[in-house]
């Protein structure tokens, strides 16, 4: 009976070891789009991620974190608090730029949510709407008419509702979102949230502590 039990324990340990190796490898590998520095064609093509967009933190900071996000993505919703904590810890040394990257193919209400955030931005309440959209993404995420939720949030933020309704479907707002999407596509964003730190693709962090570590390291280097 000892031999079979030893064999079982060996296989369980081996399976755990293989899984831990795969998790570790996934953690240390940057995203698949990180190989952009040298393209398959041999050209030294490096996408430019501009620090233009909705910003938070110190506009004069040497360290710039650009996020491509989608309001209906649960991973982006989870990252919101992580980013907020990092920004709070490094308020004077970091600038956050948020860019819209709604993935309509998998998140049917993501585009109109991005429009709602941009429309609120026209009344200087972008970040407030940004937070509300992420906090309540489960409420409006899969409903046929998410607009009623967005109007409720606009009311909560004391926005001019008539103007908000008009801006929600303004072509210029949609153009702005499409420009963000195009920038993301040129930078080969394949998943959200995707972060760029000082213009370079940030490796995928496993948890808040590692995210903080990467940012703190970049800030130290930038000094």
């Amino acid at each position: 009976m000892v031999k079979p039990l030893l064999a079982t324990l060996f296989l369980i340990a081996l399976a755990l070891g293989v899984a831990a190796f795969l998790v570790h490898r996934n953690q240390s590998l940057p995203d698949s789009n990180s190989s952009l520095g040298s393209s398959a064609s041999g050209l030294d093509f490096k996408p430019v991620v501009t620090p233009k967009g909705w910003t938070k933190g110190n506009p004069a900071a040497k360290t710039v974190l650009v996020e491509f996000g989608d309001y209906q993505c649960s991973a982006c919703g989870a990252a919101r608090q992580t980013v907020a904590n990092v920004l709070k810890n490094h308020e004077s040394e970091l600038m956050l730029v948020f860019k819209q990257y709604p993935m309509e193919s998998i998140h049917r209400n993501s585009m109109i949510a991005a429009q709602a955030a941009e429309a609120a931005g026209r009344q200087f309440k972008f970040w407030e709407m940004h937070d509300l959209l992420f906090l309540h993404q489960r409420d409006w995420g899969d409903v046929p008419d998410p607009q009623t939720f967005f109007l409720r949030y606009a009311e909560e933020l004391h926005l001019d509702l008539e103007r908000f309704k008009q801006d929600l479907w303004d072509g210029k707002i949609r153009d702005k979102i499409y420009r963000d999407i195009l920038e993301g596509q040129l930078a080969s964003v394949r998943s959200v949230p995707t972060f760029y730190l000082n213009g370079s693709l940030m490796p995928r962090a496993q948890g808040d502590a590692q995210f903080e570590e990467i940012i703190a390291d970049a800030i130290k280097k930038a000094k």
Binding site: C76, R190, Q206
Partner: protein, 141 residues
Amino acid sequence: MSKRLLLGGVLVGLAFVGMIDSSYVGLSSLQGFVVPCEIAGGCEQVLNSPYSRISGVSIAWIGFVFYGWVTTCAILTVFGFPRWLQFSLGANIPAFAFTLYLLYVQAFVLRAFCDYCLLSALLVTLILGFHLFAKPWKSAS
């Protein structure tokens, strides 16, 4: 090669893959890793959903315990104790029912499928198939 060795070996192989699959998802969730939203969709919706956890613990660990149990019983079968297949079959039936429930959740509630979960569903089904082929209840009577 005897039927006992072949069956035991196949079951060990399937359960071993299942242990890697489930512990990969379980370890990822332990590290607080939130699956990002890929253009192809699927995994993030399933693995970040409330259905993926029971009291904060990833259900992948339930799968890991199941595959660990099947491995134990299959190895005992290889070593000449085929009656243990009854015990793994006993675990396999509720595991298959739970798999059907998870497939229902993915198809009709979340409307998204995760490759890791689909692999596990395939493995549980194959393990059940091999158990039914082995007919361990016959050796009990």
